[in-house]
C-alpha cells in the first residue's frame, strides 16, 4: 500500500509542478468546448437559422414587394442589403456577388408582381363564384432566390420553406381581401337577378366553389434559381480544400517538436557554433516542411482525382488557374510552417508544443469554416473567423477550385497569409537568436 500511495502522491506532485501542463490540460479543452459550441450553435438549432446579410432587390416597388421586404426585415436573423455604396443593386450585380460568395443569398422580387398576384387572386375568386377554372390563363409570378452554390442544402431548404410560409400567409391575406371585396358585389348582383322571386329557392342561390383544388391554386411562388457558374461545386472540391488546409496546418506538431528536441539535446547549440547564418538553418527547415505540406496536398488531391471516384463521387476539379493554386498552397504551407517554427521556439516542452499546437489548429479550423460554414455561425464568431489563417487558406482554395478564381481574386487571402507567415518568422527568428539567455552556467 505504501509504495502505491507514494507513487500516487509523487505523480500528483509532478503534475502540480508542471503548472503550464496542467493549465493546458484544463484550459485547452475548455477553449475547444467554447469555440466549437459557438461555431456550431446555429447548425444544431432546429431552424438552422443564422444571422445573415441577404441581398434584396425589389423591382416591384409596389405593395407586394414592400410587404415581402418588411416581412423579411422583421426576422431577427436577417439583415436586408438593398444597396451597396449608396447605389441600388441590379439583379446581374447581385448574382455576380452571390456567385463569388460575397453574399450567400439574393432575393429578387420581379417588377409587376403586385398586379400579377392580384389578377390571379381576382381570377381565382371569380372562378370560385362561377365554379369554373381558368388555371393557367395567367402566368404564375414568382419571387427568385439565388443561392451561393456552396450554401448547404439544409440551409437552402430552411430558407425556401420560410419564404414559402411567408408567401402563403400573404396569399391568404390577399385572397381574403379580394373575397371580402367580391362578396357584396356578387350578393348585390344575385339579389338584383332574383328580385321579385322572394322567398328564394335555396337551390337558386350561387354557392362559392372553394373546394380543395381551388385552395391549392397558388397566387405566386418562390423559386430557387440555377447558379450561373459553369461547373457546380461538388462535395469533393469543398472537402479537399477544407481538409487539406486542416492537414497542412498540422505540420506544426512535427515541426515544433523537432525544434524543441534540437534545443533540448544540444543540437541547436552545436548548430549555432557553425559558420552558417541562423536564417539558413530556419529556411532549410522551412523548405523541408513545406515540401512535406505539398506532398500532403498532392496526396489528398490524388485521392480526390482517383480514389474517391471509385466510390462514386465526382472527379475532383481544381479550377483552371494552376499558378494561383500553386501559389495558394505554397502560402498556406508557409503560414503553417511559420506557425510551427514560432511554436517550437516559444514552447518550453514538447508536451506544451504538441498540446497547444493541436488545440490551436482545431480551434482555428473550427473558426475558419473547416467544420461548419462561416455563414451559419453567430455574428461574433463570423467576425473572429476573419482572423483565422485557415479561413484565409480555405477561402482562397475554394475561390480557385470552385469559382474559377485567379491570383487577382485571392490576392487578399494571399496577402493575409504572407503577413501571418512574416510575423511568425520574425517571432521565431527573434526567439531563435535569444536562446543564449536560457543558457545555464
Amino acid at each position: 500500500m505504501q509504495p502505491l500511495l507514494a507513487t500516487l502522491f509523487k505523480e500528483l506532485r509532478l503534475l502540480y509542478r508542471d503548472r503550464f501542463g496542467l493549465l493546458v490540460l484544463f484550459v485547452m479543452p475548455a477553449v475547444l468546448v467554447v469555440v466549437v459550441s459557438l461555431v456550431q450553435e446555429n447548425v444544431l438549432k432546429a431552424t438552422g437559422a443564422a444571422h445573415m446579410d441577404i441581398l434584396f432587390i425589389d423591382q416591384d416597388r409596389q405593395a407586394f414587394g414592400t410587404l415581402i421586404g418588411e416581412q423579411l426585415e422583421a426576422l431577427d436573423t436577417v439583415t436586408l442589403v438593398t444597396s451597396l455604396d449608396g447605389q441600388a443593386i441590379d439583379t446581374d450585380q447581385a448574382r455576380a456577388l452571390v456567385d463569388k460568395g460575397r453574399y450567400q443569398v439574393c432575393i429578387a422580387v420581379p417588377a409587376g408582381i403586385t398586379e400579377a398576384v392580384r389578377a390571379r387572386a381576382v381570377e381565382q375568386i371569380s372562378d370560385a363564384f362561377s365554379g369554373g377554372s381558368r388555371e393557367g390563363a395567367l402566368p404564375l409570378p414568382h419571387v427568385s432566390v439565388y443561392f451561393d452554390p456552396l450554401v448547404q442544402g439544409a440551409f437552402r431548404s430552411s430558407l425556401l420553406n420560410a419564404m414559402k410560409q411567408m408567401l402563403l400567409a400573404m396569399e391568404m391575406e390577399i385572397k381574403a381581401q379580394i373575397l371580402a371585396e367580391s362578396v357584396p358585389v356578387r350578393f348585390q348582383q344575385t339579389l338584383s337577378a332574383l328580385a321579385g322571386r322572394i322567398p328564394l329557392d335555396p337551390a337558386t342561390i350561387p354557392k362559392l366553389q372553394m373546394d380543395s383544388g381551388w385552395g391549392r391554386r397558388r397566387l405566386m411562388d418562390v423559386v430557387a434559381e440555377q447558379s450561373r457558374l459553369k461547373k457546380l461545386p461538388t462535395s469533393v472540391q469543398q472537402n479537399v480544400a477544407a481538409w487539406s488546409v486542416f492537414g497542412i496546418f498540422f505540420i506544426v506538431l512535427p515541426l515544433g517538436g523537432a525544434i524543441i528536441r534540437e534545443r533540448k539535446d544540444g543540437t541547436l547549440a552545436r548548430l549555432r557554433t557553425l559558420p552558417v547564418p541562423y536564417i539558413t538553418l530556419l529556411v532549410g527547415k522551412l523548405g523541408a516542411y513545406v515540401t512535406v505540406c505539398w506532398a500532403q496536398f498532392l496526396f489528398i488531391v490524388l485521392m480526390g482525382k482517383a480514389g474517391l471516384p471509385l466510390l462514386g463521387t465526382p472527379v475532383l476539379s481544381l479550377g483552371s488557374d494552376t499558378t494561383a493554386l500553386i501559389v495558394t498552397v505554397t502560402m498556406v504551407a508557409l503560414a503553417a510552417c511559420g506557425y510551427g517554427l514560432m511554436l517550437g521556439t516559444l514552447a518550453r516542452t514538447l508536451e506544451q508544443a504538441t498540446m497547444f499546437g493541436a488545440v490551436s489548429v482545431v480551434c482555428a479550423a473550427a473558426l475558419g469554416g473547416i467544420m461548419v460554414p462561416v455563414y451559419v455561425m453567430p455574428p461574433v464568431m463570423q467576425t473572429i473567423s476573419t482572423f483565422s489563417p485557415l479561413a484565409w487558406g480555405l477561402n482562397a482554395l475554394v475561390e480557385i477550385s470552385v469559382r474559377e478564381g485567379t491570383l487577382g481574386s485571392v490576392r487578399h487571402e494571399l496577402l493575409y497569409l504572407a503577413v501571418f507567415f512574416a510575423v511568425t518568422m520574425v517571432i521565431a527568428w527573434a526567439r531563435f537568436g535569444r536562446f543564449d539567455r536560457q543558457a545555464e552556467t
Partner: protein, 256 residues
C-alpha cells in the same frame, strides 16, 4: 604558460576580460575571465557545478554574447567576424548533440555539409573521423541504437570533421565506461600532438592531470588558479595531487 598581456601570432584562442550576467541574476555567471590557448595545447577548465565553465565555453564559441570582454580565435575577433572564427572551432557539447534517428555517417555528413565539405572529400573525412573514434563498423547504425560510450565518441567525431584548429570539449567523457574514456583521451592526446588546440572541461580531475598542459580553476565565475598541473601542485605543497588542490581551492561545501 600564464595568460599573456597580448596574443602572439600563434595564439589560437585569446579571451580577455569576459563578463556575463544573465537576465534577472544578481551576480555575474562569469567575471573578468581571461584565457589563452596556444597551438597543440590542451587547457583544462575545472570548477564545481555552477562555477561558470559552460558559460565560459558559450562565450568563447559565440553561443552567448559577453557583457564585456573580447574573444579572438585564430586571429579573428569573434564578435566582429563570427563566421571566420567559428570556422576554426569544433564544439563537443555536454549533451549528445546528434540526431538520434540518423546514422553516425548521416550525422557526420550533415554537419560536414554545414561546413561546405562535399563529395569525395566529405566521404573521406566522415570515414576518417569515424575511424579515429573507433566507429567505422557502426557507421550505418542509428545513433539511437548506440551505447552511451558510442554516442560520446560519435559526438566527438562530428567536432573533428572540418579539421578545426581549436576544440571545445565540454565534459566529453561524462557517463562513459572506462574503455571509451581511455580511447577518447588517447585520441585527444594524438590530436594535440598533431597541432589541434583544446579547451577541456571535466569533473574528472585525473583526466585533466593526464592530458592537460595547463589548467584554469574557476569558481563563482572567477579564475582562482591558473598554471600547469606541476605549477599548481608546487604552489600548494600540502596537496598531494590536483584532486586535493581542487577541493582546497573550491571548498568541500556542496554546490547547487
Amino acid at each position: 604558460m600564464t595568460h599573456p598581456e597580448v596574443p602572439s601570432l600563434t595564439t589560437i584562442l585569446w579571451a580577455e576580460g569576459l563578463t556575463k550576467t544573465y537576465p534577472h541574476a544578481r551576480t555575474p555567471a562569469l567575471s573578468s575571465f581571461s584565457l589563452s590557448v596556444g597551438p597543440g595545447e590542451i587547457v583544462g577548465l575545472l570548477g564545481p557545478n555552477g562555477a561558470g565553465k559552460t558559460t565560459a565555453i558559450s562565450l568563447m564559441t559565440g553561443l552567448l554574447a559577453p557583457d564585456s570582454g573580447k574573444v579572438t580565435i585564430c586571429g579573428a575577433d569573434l564578435s566582429k567576424h563570427p563566421r571566420k572564427a567559428q570556422q576554426c572551432i569544433g564544439l563537443v557539447p555536454q549533451h549528445i548533440a546528434l540526431y538520434p534517428s540518423l546514422t553516425a555517417a548521416e550525422n557526420l555528413s550533415y554537419f560536414g555539409r554545414m561546413y561546405r565539405i562535399n563529395g569525395r572529400e566529405l566521404k573521406a573525412r566522415v570515414n576518417a573521423c569515424l575511424k579515429i573514434v573507433g566507429l567505422s563498423n557502426s557507421a550505418h547504425g542509428r545513433i539511437e541504437t548506440f551505447s552511451g560510450g558510442m554516442k560520446r565518441r560519435a559526438n566527438l567525431a562530428v567536432a573533428l570533421l572540418h579539421q578545426p584548429r581549436l576544440l571545445f570539449l565540454d565534459e566529453p567523457t561524462a557517463g562513459v565506461d572506462p574503455q571509451s574514456r581511455n580511447m577518447i583521451l588517447d585520441r585527444l592526446s594524438e590530436l594535440s600532438r598533431s597541432g589541434v588546440s583544446m579547451l577541456y572541461t571535466t569533473h574528472y580531475i585525473e583526466e585533466a592531470e593526464k592530458i592537460c598542459s595547463r589548467i584554469a580553476v574557476i569558481d563563482e565565475g572567477r579564475t582562482i588558479a591558473h598554471g600547469s598541473p606541476g605549477e599548481l601542485t608546487h604552489a600548494h605543497p600540502d596537496c598531494n595531487d590536483l584532486g586535493q588542490l581542487f577541493l582546497r581551492l573550491t571548498g568541500k561545501d556542496l554546490r547547487d
